[in-house]
């Protein structure tokens, strides 16, 4: 069977397909229902990870690959977390230096308005 490639019942594809629609609808609702702050960010991340997980696991068949292959492909992107943390520290530092040296923003938005 392994030589024949990835053959799975159609049912699982339909289920994931529907699930992706539902979760996408939820993430759109996060914007419509105007969640803000921590709630908003948490919901966005959770829905994003659920969708990404199902696409990789089922549609891209990673669930059925061998562990050696899973680790080789899914392991390296974990290093991106280091980049994310370093760049957010750096971003905060740059913002502080800008405020100290140039003062607060004087930007006047045209349309659409801002909160």
């Amino acid at each position: 069977m392994a030589a024949e490639g990835q053959q799975h019942p159609l049912k699982i594809y339909y289920m994931v397909w529907i699930l992706l629609f539902v979760v996408s609808f939820f993430s759109y609702m996060v914007d419509i229902l105007e969640f803000h702050g921590m709630t908003r960010w948490t919901l966005i991340i959770v829905f994003m990870l659920v969708k990404a997980g199902f696409i990789i696991a089922i549609f891209m068949h990673m669930k059925w690959e061998r562990l050696a292959f899973k680790i080789a492909i899914l392991g390296p992107p974990v290093a991106i977390l280091v980049l994310i943390s370093l760049m957010s520290l750096e971003g905060g530092y740059v913002e502080n230096s800008r405020i100290q040296n140039y003062g607060e923003s004087t930007f006047e938005a045209e349309t659409p308005g801002h909160h």
Binding site: M48, A52, I55, R66, I84, E95
Partner: protein, 228 residues
């Protein structure tokens, strides 16, 4: 090629034992066709490229002292007399998910050697992809007409424009390339190109990997750029 993988003799152990055996035994490490391994490694490198763009966007958004434009207002469309936030982006998201579904079915039909269904499902995927790119073109022209430029925009921080054009542009380029790739493979499936090569339809799965990756990247762009 796939025969070589099975030459290891003994049955392949699952889990961590299998991990050790795959690496320690004198055999090909990854039990997948070479084309699939190569596509995954390409996608891995592409993951890093997109990550650099999105992390760069995060960095300039944190560092900007000007207010960041509110995406749900910038990307709102007026339909039926109401301003609906992010509506075009939502439609684009659903189109891309639909195309992922048709692609997954195409891969399955490919392994069943149902060439006709594989062909039409791949064509459907390509058509959905093309409509996605068209909507993106519409979105770009709308924003450009409103004065959004890579160096400035009327809504807030200047970095908004550069991040937007860079990230969605690079993604749109991937979708466009994917449409061409899909059509090439679809017509090869149709005209029996792979029948002459032993009737092996792994290529449909490999094409599918690329297409699902494009959808996957959109999931992250949707979350971090449009919803955040």
């Amino acid at each position: 090629m796939s025969e070589a993988v099975l030459d290891s003799g003994a049955a392949e152990a699952p889990g961590t034992k299998g991990l050790v055996e795959d690496w320690a035994r004198d055999k090909q490490v990854f039990g997948v066709p070479w084309g699939k391994a190569m596509m995954w490694i390409f996608l891995l490198s592409d993951t890093f490229i997109f990550s650099c763009f999105i992390v760069g966007y995060m960095s300039v958004r944190i560092a900007s002292t000007d207010p960041w434009p509110v995406p749900s207002e910038v990307f709102a469309l007026t339909m039926f007399g109401h301003s609906i936030p992010l509506v075009l982006i939502a439609i684009m998201t659903f189109i891309l998910i639909t195309s992922s579904g048709t692609m997954a079915l195409a891969v399955n039909m490919g392994y069943r050697k149902d060439r006709k269904k594989t062909f039409w499902l791949m064509v459907a995927t390509a058509v959905l992809g093309a409509s996605f790119v068209s909507m993106q073109a519409f979105e770009w022209s709308k924003l450009i007409s409103e004065g959004v430029r890579p160096w400035a925009n009327p809504f807030g921080a200047a970095q908004f424009g550069s991040s937007f054009f860079m990230i969605t542009g690079f993604h749109g380029l991937h979708v466009s390339a994917g449409v061409i790739y899909l059509l090439v493979i679809a017509f090869r499936v149709k005209n029996g190109f792979y029948e002459k090569r032993g009737g092996n339809y792994e290529i449909v799965e490999i094409t599918g990997l690329y297409w699902h990756f494009v959808d996957l990247v959109w999931v992250f762009i949707f979350a971090f750029f449009y919803l955040w």
